[in-house]
Amino acid sequence: MSQPFRTEKGGRIDRAEQLTFTFDGEELHGHKGDTLASALLANGIHLVGRSFKYHRPRGIVTAGSEEPNALVGIYRNGDQTPNLRATQVELYQDLQAISQNRFPSLGFDVGAVNDLLSPLFPAGFYYKTFMWPKSFWDRVYEPIIRSAAGLGRPPKNPDHDYYGNQYAHCDVLVVGSGPAGLAATLAAAETGARVILCDEQAEFGGSLLSVASASIDGKDPSIWVSETIQKLSAMANVTLLPRTTAFGYFAHNFIALAERVTEHLKDPDPKLPRERLWQVRAREVVIAAGAIERPMAFPENDRPGVMLAEAGRTYLNRYGVKVGHKVLVATACDTAWQAAFDLADHGVEVVAIADIRETPPDNLISIAKARGIRVEAGCVVTGTLGRKRVKAALLGRLMTSGQVASGGQVECDALLMSAGWTPTVSLYSQSRGKVVWDAEKGAYVPGKPVQKERSTGASKGLYGLQATLEDGYAAGEEAARAATGKTATFTRATASGGEAGNGGTLGALPHDRDASRVKAFVDYQNDVTAKDVKLAVREGMHSIEHIKRYTTTGMATDQGRLSNMNALQIASGSLERPMPEVGLTTFRQPYTPTTFGLFAGVARGDFFDPVRKTPSHDWVVGNGGVFEDVSQWKRAWYFPKTGEDMHAAVARECKTVRESVGLFDASTLGKIEVVGPDAAEFLERMYTNPWKKLAPGRCRYGLLLNDAGFITDDGVIGRLAEDRFHVTTTTGGAPSVFATMEDYLQTEWPDLDVWITSTTEQYAVAAVQGPKAREVIAPFIEGVDLSAEALPHMSVKEATFCGVPCRLFRISFTGELGFEINVPRRHGRMLWETLAAEIEKHGGTPYGTESMHVLRAEKGYIIVGQDTDGTVTPHDAGMSWAIGKKKFDFVGKRGLERPDLIAENRKQFVGLLTKDPKVKLEEGAQITTAETPATGTPAEGHVTSSYYSPALDRTIALAVVKNGHALEGQTLYVPMPDGSIPVEVTGTVFYDKEGARLNV
């Protein structure tokens, strides 16, 4: 029950509500208001993980989202989410957490041998070690890397949570709710502007929640925060989003926010999503993201118990947790002194304040003296002792020579460090702004805005409570005025205390140790040391981008927010070039790791992609049909009877169509209604074929090219009236054909008086094909004479089917007598079921897309996209007949005259018959002239379609072959792994070459 490092009083935790949780199975206690990190620290637990490369023991370093070490797995609903930052995980009753990257346990980890072998893992070791031998990659290196790499284990089950999505517009978006952010929000909200305030933390207030020695309007800063939030909550024009990270700043002030909705709750409302993605379009943005403290790069600065000074202060003042009983404070700047003072005021023994500056400010020294704290000026930490927790630190005295003399050893169970502050410029950088080097501040700060944003407070390097408040008010006012033109007068708070500090250092600190034996970490998460950065420079990496990738510094999940500045300074020293010349790598989205679920939202499972079904769908399901996916459509593939496999079913379907009759659902074909006085002229210009002389009531096959001259689509087009055409397209090509038509109509030929409308979804289409087709439809059709004389092949008439208006086409994609009946889609099921029952009476069969493919291949009809690939011209396809020779122009006409398109040796569309009629070629197989071509011989072409033909009782294939039209009768080869297959080149029509069966 005891929490030995909990303070007597203070903090924002609810001491009345005790919570039980487990860490690696051990039962522990904390309070409501704790994070997992603060609760662990209250129990005296610093060791929370093993490092990525060397498996060194690691402790909690920060109190925020930049935490590099304390990555844990959390069990929830029977599954485990890895790599959550313990500093952001809010404690709830029965929370179960585990440490990561250790085996068999956190205390004893066999991977720690990597630390002893660390001379083998220098910078760039992946590049160096794994170059040779090649065969070792598969068998040795990759398995080792895979088992050793990564931190947490991925969840085993599909994500059982769901995720919300919200679009929002606002006048002003404020990111961050510290003093600057709150002031900006107030100032903007007072003008009446619509304001969204988001903060990644559970509570608003930022640094104001950790301050013990300042006041705003005479009150504790946290009281001012509560009052301000209360006021803002009551304003209808303000949206407050806690636990919400602005993770991406995109073009045109589009900002993505990740709101964590339920993960902090033990038993959340199941109706609520785990997270919600906010896609915000903000007129103006105020970035009040604050600054983060920099670690000091001294030897063994990664020992558990070593943490940032401000984190120590936050754990004390906000969470009521002492990070240790004997604390050493090592600093290069003023702010860390306040942490020492606050700890002393809570009865913690501060063993010393070691400031690397020769003369720290007198006022700080006297405050320390008054509390009896030993002060060491001009003093650096040169190392730490202890195994799983720091137990002592080595001090060194900085000499004027730049050398370091041993300064003895102090016992401590925690070490707070501060090398100064780094403004958080991530969002500014994401907005495509270029940061500029501020030599006085020793920091990169936002340069001129590229988008409609401004940074305020610490995120632009401005410190001090009063100054920050003032700057925040000004930023909020300016943003509201820019967004809405409105201003307002309101009372502004004034602060006392919380003055800006001075000081700070960058890079590796000097020490008196054996440089070859010690590690001073720059990037904790990726285990990059100061030595690694120097080595990278020695080995020729002179650009910061190369140094980053070679050492992996700054490539961890915090994108180098903790490490970049130290690494840059070390690189700058080694390169002997000033910092600004070395440059800074770009911060990219996302600001912190973001779940895939958030991006997927509801687009999962059935909602991943729309499923389009035709009116016969349920009937097909009920009659044992098998479906295939054709773009988004579910199409009936074949209809197996009991005991039939696909081959048998398709053979039966094809035979039945040729001998009696078959029924096919053609609803998925694209349909476009082209209407207007210039409709014929428009089609004349779009398609290769002539249209003006086509009589109403007649159809023509249309071939569509692009202006380069290549086939892009085809379909039958019927003329219903002088000014009205019914155009069909391929199933997959429907949207692009429609878009292409719109493009030419709107932008090239706006003079044409034509309207085009997509009618794909308006009609259900049943194709009845076979010698008995006329008998099958006759009982249901009224208003049209079905005789061959009145309704010849390639005709269209308006009629009724069972009293429902229909467009009746006499067309065929099988080579048999055929009709396609288009009815309004709502009658589609009636159409299908009526015909399905009728064909059964005639011994017919429904057939699917597979039989449709075989039947059309027997007739040599192309399928655009299967037999063509975007480089096939009508001449190549043997379809020169489809080109209107006398036409002035059509899309693709000029393209067809290009030298390469009329050159010799183009691949041409042919038929292939294997010498052995039982052998079926593989679609895509290459074709050669030699039976066993030498390696590297280019292919003459490839097989585009290949089937068993029931009508011929043998296999047939279609192909494109160089000069194929001239090769008819010749033998070519299809080399396959188990031998070369000889084939004879033929024409493309295998069945009923004269077309006699069509005209009955």
Partner: protein, 101 residues
């Protein structure tokens, strides 16, 4: 995500409602048979692909369906002008200077 103004609907909408149609003001020759092979290939394939301010086509595909043109700085993605199809290409240099590009 870009914010795009449709000059026909006269509203600003998110990029997801639109489809980019590539460089604008590349007119299809009115008598293609009179163009040389080189000119035709230029028409088909050659685009300026510049870093900076240029005019491009957009279609309000999930809105009114109309094609229109926009002047965009390809470096910043800032739009400098939206105008209807058929209107002449604005003076890009003047627009760039005005926007301080």
């Amino acid at each position: 995500m870009l914010l795009i103004y449709c000059p026909y609907c006269q509203v600003k909408r998110a990029e997801t409602e639109f489809h980019c149609g590539g460089e604008a003001h590349i007119a299809r020759p009115s008598d293609p048979s009179k163009t040389t092979d080189e000119d035709w290939v230029d028409f088909l394939y050659t685009r300026s692909n510049i870093k900076g301010v240029y005019a491009e086509r957009w279609r309000h595909i999930h809105g009114c369906g109309r094609f229109f043109n926009a002047v965009r700085d390809t470096v910043s993605d800032d739009f400098l002008k939206f105008y209807k199809a058929g209107e002449p290409m604005p003076d890009l240099n003047a627009l760039a200077a005005e926007a301080g590009k």
